[in-house]
Symmetry: C2
Subunit: 302 residues, 2 copies
Amino acid sequence: MSASGAVTAPAQPLVPVLAVVGVGLIGGSFAAALRDRGAVGRVLGVGRQAATLAQARELGLIDEIVSLPEAAQQADLIFLAMPVGATETILSQLKPFLRPDTIVTDAGSTKANVVSVARAVLGDRIGQFIPGHPIAGAEKTGPLAAEAALYRGRTVVLTPLEENSSQAKAYLTRVWECCGARVMAMDAQVHDTVLASVSHVPHFLSSVFMWQVATAQDSDLRMALAGSGFRDFTRISAGSPEVWRDIFLANRSAVLSELQEVKAALSRAEMALQDADGESLQDFLEHAALARRFWGSRSGLT
Amino acid sequence: MSASGAVTAPAQPLVPVLAVVGVGLIGGSFAAALRDRGAVGRVLGVGRQAATLAQARELGLIDEIVSLPEAAQQADLIFLAMPVGATETILSQLKPFLRPDTIVTDAGSTKANVVSVARAVLGDRIGQFIPGHPIAGAEKTGPLAAEAALYRGRTVVLTPLEENSSQAKAYLTRVWECCGARVMAMDAQVHDTVLASVSHVPHFLSSVFMWQVATAQDSDLRMALAGSGFRDFTRISAGSPEVWRDIFLANRSAVLSELQEVKAALSRAEMALQDADGESLQDFLEHAALARRFWGSRSGLT
């Protein structure tokens, strides 16, 4: 028989107070995922645009709109999900008010530059900052696009610093796993090189190609005959010019170096075509097709 | 009062007897679309693989499996939907049995080479051949992928010959419109140049990029961090290596020449990145993004 009247104190949620800076797709989905799992107490939203913040509150993504100092004073976890270019400003405004036990993480697509900015700004508080990058779609933007399932089955890269405590790293890993993500830890420079290859270079090439077609004299006719292959290949080129300009600038040397590799591969393939060398063409197409099919069957991305 | 007993003869369908050579996605969907609209009487299927033909018959895409001579003798319209490389062989086998009123058309992705092969093989029967190219997806293949709606809202390019009669051209246009497609007529060389730009070059670049990532030393790590942008950009590289090898070889000079244009654009964009010229980068990204968004809103391709 259980002792009647014994009340169990409600368990503290994993994140008692979460602050999200930038309540768009990435920030809003993070809040939604944690709320969905009952893993968050209160969600504070910070942002530049009042209308976006109001919308996020109406959608129930955040509970309260606060300033950066208020977020620093109240939050247990601060998630930076605004464009990478604003990292320095945001951290500078958070630092004077940051509680010593608060963990700050981010969602920036480049990591080495974020780390160096964070070190410069946070100084001896750098141990509280754990850099991160959730690899999750960003075709749609804004709080309306946010969804609790965005990170389910997706990879989140953390590029922890020497100064981060094991406890803090374990905690942030648990938070991301709670969103359904799998967490990989790696060096910031390795992250940037790999992302240059599989994310930044495709975007660069897609945009260059789209630009070339759009500026051709007969672009109307070209566009009229463009089909589903064109659609897929150019989809990413529709992304935010500002966001991608910042990513390219932030990861400039890795992007330029990967572009060299792609151009070398392109020269080889062009040579085969020039020589009407069907065997070499077939070899390279087959290698690419098999690799893509294998990736497709394992990536979980449909 | 209508005269009772007066029986209206059932209207002849638009295509009394259709023969489809190659009953995969393209050929099967053509038959399915016409059947769906009640526009076809009997459908004959020709192909190399008995299993595929049997499957097409089970699926109701074709009524009967026949030889090329039988198809030539019986069909009012013959639709060639096998790989372009087989055009010469197929036309040679059709020609001796071809009825003088039968129209032959094709679905090949390149047109100038098909026209020259057809002229050489068909000789004084060339007026019966109207070259065509439906711009419709080919990610899935085989009769199972065939669907009556494939051509709805899609563009079909015809590159008619001087020798084609107005009547024959009007008839084929009506047939395609009956499948829900819009028909555009143009010169074969113009078609090939435009398709080099919006179809063949993207496939070439996507495959080159996929090959480069797959052959990198750390390809496993790269693949593990590849997200939805990578997925879209590389999707076409999974296509049939044989089919695409043939397309590249068939449209070699136009593809090589378009690649030069893309490389020139790439050099300009690379230069801007090299110089950390944010304004130029933003300009080019914006131009590309606006053009892609505009295309997306008009193409009807989701």
